[in-house]
């Protein structure tokens, strides 16, 4: 015991700890940086680039670290690269760890829901910003436990550097044991030292995890006293300000003039002979539509008729096969001659065209509060200062009846509330045209109404141009200026709601409407 304590406090071994830390730091940070690069390359669409990354991984993950250490230390000098033992250990450790880091990063990025990217692109974020603000923070959270265990593993692996003369803890313990024959006291002491070091890394990992833990964020209210959520009379507070009667009245009073006004308005969106196929499956087979400014168009049709695909083509979340989509001259995704544009320029075009989108599954940014979600387009697309953007976000949340829930994370909100936040986020960029992809399909029946009320108010109060894919016939009848019925990738018929919904001509439309009516009744 006495000799154990003697070795535990022996300067020779304590200095060894310092060198162990150096080797670990070189391996960890070098591996981290190289791993980021490798993960980026592996995720690249360029086959050569991803192939290089894969080959690297096969080699460095598939050979023992001991060989890599010896290679860097004794083989590289033959090629004229002479590294000191500690640098050789750092290079070999980093080269080896990089493959593991790359896999951690890659799986963390792939683990972020694709809807997050869709939503980020739809609000007009550039690819770099999407990565930095949306994918990165969520992937980083997911990766922290694995990164922590990789740090511990790097530290333990650094002991192998003892074979290439790095005077770290293990080498010193070995040499000391050889000189003193005090084998067990020494290795027990160095084992305890390693435990303290790896324990510290684990502690750091847990601290970071705790600091970034989203389930704690809501409780702390992000630095503000938590606004009491709607305990009593929740429905009263949460119902959007625009009431049914009010909009109904406006509808009746303005019906005639509205139809006339819409008819006279300029064309906001032109869709010309649009075709789209996924692999062999032809989803859209020649769609032609003109949407006028201020017009509300309901897209109806059975599942698989191509409604969602059409909406995603309009703001270029998907690429066109043939045809043309133009916002008052702006073809999102293409140059004048139909040449595809890089994504960062497409992002600017979405903003210029003023196209917003609301998703079936909300796609709120999971790591951001409601108000931060709404502020995203303002802060990171329109470069509005943070405070101003959040104030505007609060105002928008008020419009959708969610003033009290601004500090809640998406996971703490009901589906209906999430969709209202989604709408507020889409509105934040002041869109000219709003695309709504089955905004109520993922909601429980009792939550549908609160979302429809919000959409209704946008049509009536704001005069926003909207294209809504929906199965809500009553809503389409109330709100839409025109109903477009799609099936099998074509428009079967279109016209004022009364005409299409009450007197459908095409047999498929008749069948579909009858089926939906049966369900609704």
């Amino acid at each position: 015991m006495e000799s154990f304590l003697h070795y535990l406090s022996m300067p020779y071994l304590l200095t060894g700890i310092l060198i162990t830390l150096q080797a670990t730091a070189l391996g960890f940070f070098g591996g981290f940086a190289l791993g980021l690069l490798l993960a980026g390359m592996a995720l690249s669409r360029n086959r050569v680039v991803s192939g290089v990354a894969r080959t690297y991984s096969v080699i460095f993950r598939g050979t023992p670290l001991v060989l890599q250490l010896v290679f860097v230390f004794t083989a590289l000098p033959h090629a004229g690269v002479v590294l000191s033992p500690i640098m050789a250990a750092g290079v070999a450790l980093a080269a080896n760890e990089a493959t593991f880091f790359a896999e951690i990063f890659r799986s963390a990025v792939l683990g972020v829901d694709k809807g997050q990217t869709d939503a980020a692109r739809a609000v007009g974020l550039r690819p770099g910003t999407v990565l930095r603000r949306i994918i990165g923070p969520q992937a980083a959270r997911a990766a922290i436990p694995a990164i922590g265990s990789e740090a511990v593993s790097t530290m333990k692996n650094s002991a192998l550097a003892s074979i290439i003369a790095v005077p770290e803890l293990t080498l010193r313990s070995n040499q000391l044991a050889s000189a003193t024959f005090d084998y067990f006291s020494i290795f027990f002491a160095s084992g305890v030292m390693y435990l303290i070091l790896t324990g510290a890394i684990t502690g750091l990992q847990l601290t970071i995890e705790r600091a970034l833990d989203l389930s704690r964020v809501g409780r702390r209210g992000r630095g503000r006293p938590a606004v009491p959520s709607t305990v009593n009379g929740a429905s009263v507070i949460e119902t959007p300000l625009a009431t049914k009667e009010l909009t109904a009245t406006r509808k009746v009073n303005g019906a005639v003039s509205r139809a006339e006004a819409v008819g006279r308005a300029r064309v906001a969106l032109t869709i010309n002979d649009v075709h789209k196929a996924f692999a062999d499956h032809e989803v859209l087979r020649g769609i032609d539509l003109e949407i006028r400014k201020g017009e509300v168009v309901a897209l109806l049709g059975p599942s698989g008729s191509g409604k969602s695909t059409l909406l995603r083509l309009i703001n270029h979340l998907e690429t066109l096969d043939t045809g043309k989509i133009s916002f008052d001259g702006i073809e999102v995704g293409y140059r004048d001659a139909g040449v595809p544009l890089p994504e960062r320029e497409v992002a600017r075009q979405r903003v210029d065209a003023g196209v917003g989108m609301v998703f079936q599954h909300f796609n709120l940014f999971g790591h951001l509060t409601a108000r931060e979600n709404v502020a995203v387009p303002l802060r990171w697309v329109h470069r509005v200062p943070k405070d101003e953007a959040l104030a505007a976000a609060d105002h928008l949340l008020g419009r959708v009846g969610l003033s009290a829930r601004g500090h809640a994370l998406p996971r703490q909100l009901s589906g209906g509330q999430q969709q209202r936040v989604g709408i507020a986020r889409a509105l934040a960029g002041r869109p000219q045209v709003l695309l709504l992809d089955e905004p109520t399909s993922a909601l429980d029946p009792e939550l549908v109404q609160e979302v429809l009320e919000v959409v209704r108010s946008l049509a009536v109060d704001d005069g926003l141009t909207m294209l809504i894919a929906t199965h809500q016939l009553g809503f389409a009848r109330d709100v839409a200026d025109r109903v477009v019925f799609m099936a099998d990738g074509t428009v079967l018929e279109q016209g004022p709601p009364q005409q299409v919904l009450d007197n459908p001509k095409h047999p498929t439309a008749v069948r579909f409407l009858r089926a939906v009516h049966t369900v609704e009744v």
Partner: protein, 305 residues
């Protein structure tokens, strides 16, 4: 949001920066011996003075000695000051250095890593109780300085009744370092055992002598075969647990390894070694480190051709 993410990241990064900085400044191998010459008579001898004039490339330099410092008496860290190496080989290298005018730094590597380290240029020479065999001479030129006498280290009382590299090894395990010349000798004996219908003589291979000795102490191995002085030292340190079974004569010499075909350094080392032997310094050093059974041998070359 970003702040909350960045804070721990910044903490990590600065921790990294600090350690990297420390790497740039510190580290390195244990310090070389002090400035005052340990062997003034040798250094001022006419031979050494002349050698320094003839080898201006070596004078004032620091050369690196690759060692496997797990052999107390030959090379190990100093218990009183673990930042220094000590032993017969260490003193011999320092003496050659003083004669030729260079200082010595050390690179402690695994036994079987010493020759690759020399070949890679990470080290300039090896003085680490290494036997000069023809096979090893494929990787380096050797200048011999002592005859080889091997001893067999066993647990106290020699429970397996070992008598050397002979049939007594059949069915036992010998702990050896990777790359030891004794490895093929025991393997050859194993073939004889099996030809005679006996169980094989097995080897357990390690990176350093301390691990070999531990293997005997823990009962995982029955013997360890190496330089007789090394064996004697191990017995002296733990006489209640270890014993020396017998001596084995091997047709080898212990040598200094220098890079293949580099005649200037090889010739200079040979001349310095000759002077050290002639002056009686090698005998003094053997006594100092209690290498009682060493047999000094006039320098001769072992090379591949």
């Amino acid at each position: 949001m970003l702040n909350r993410l960045l804070r721990p990241a910044a903490l990590l990064a600065s921790a990294g920066a600090i350690t990297l900085l420390a790497t740039a400044c510190g580290g390195g191998s244990p310090a070389t011996s002090g400035n005052a010459p340990a062997y003034p008579a040798l250094a001022s001898s006419p031979t050494c003075s002349q050698l320094r004039t003839q080898n201006p490339d070596l004078a004032g330099k620091t050369l690196t000695n690759a060692i496997n410092p797990h052999t107390p008496g030959y090379e190990s860290i100093s218990v009183s000051d673990p930042t220094k190496y000590e032993g017969f080989d260490i003193d011999l290298g320092e003496a050659i250095g003083e004669c030729l005018g260079f200082k010595v730094s050390y690179l402690p590597v695994a036994f079987d890593a010493m020759l690759p380290t020399l070949q890679s240029g990470q080290a300039n020479f090896i003085i680490s109780d290494i036997y000069a065999t023809k096979e090893r001479a494929a990787s380096a030129d050797f200048i011999t300085y002592s005859k080889v006498n091997d001893g067999v280290l066993v647990a106290a009382g020699n429970p397996k009744k070992l008598t050397g590299i002979d049939d007594s090894l059949c069915g036992t395990t010998t702990a050896l370092n990777k790359g030891f010349v004794e490895v093929p000798l025991v393997d050859a004996q194993s073939a004889k055992c099996q030809a005679a219908g006996k169980p094989p003589a097995q080897t357990a291979l390690f990176d350093n002598n301390a691990d070999c000795v531990q293997a005997i102490l823990s009962g995982r191995a029955d013997s360890y075969i190496n330089d007789v002085n090394t064996v004697a030292r191990f017995v002296k340190d733990q006489p209640d647990k270890l014993a020396r079974a017998t001596a084995v004569t091997l047709p080898y010499s212990i040598g200094i390894a220098v890079p293949k075909g580099q005649l200037p350094i090889r010739n200079a080392f040979t001349a310095a070694l000759t002077e050290i032997q002639k002056s009686g310094l090698q005998t003094q050093l053997s006594k100092k480190w209690e290498l009682d059974e060493s047999a000094i041998e006039a320098p001769s070359l072992v090379t591949a051709s």
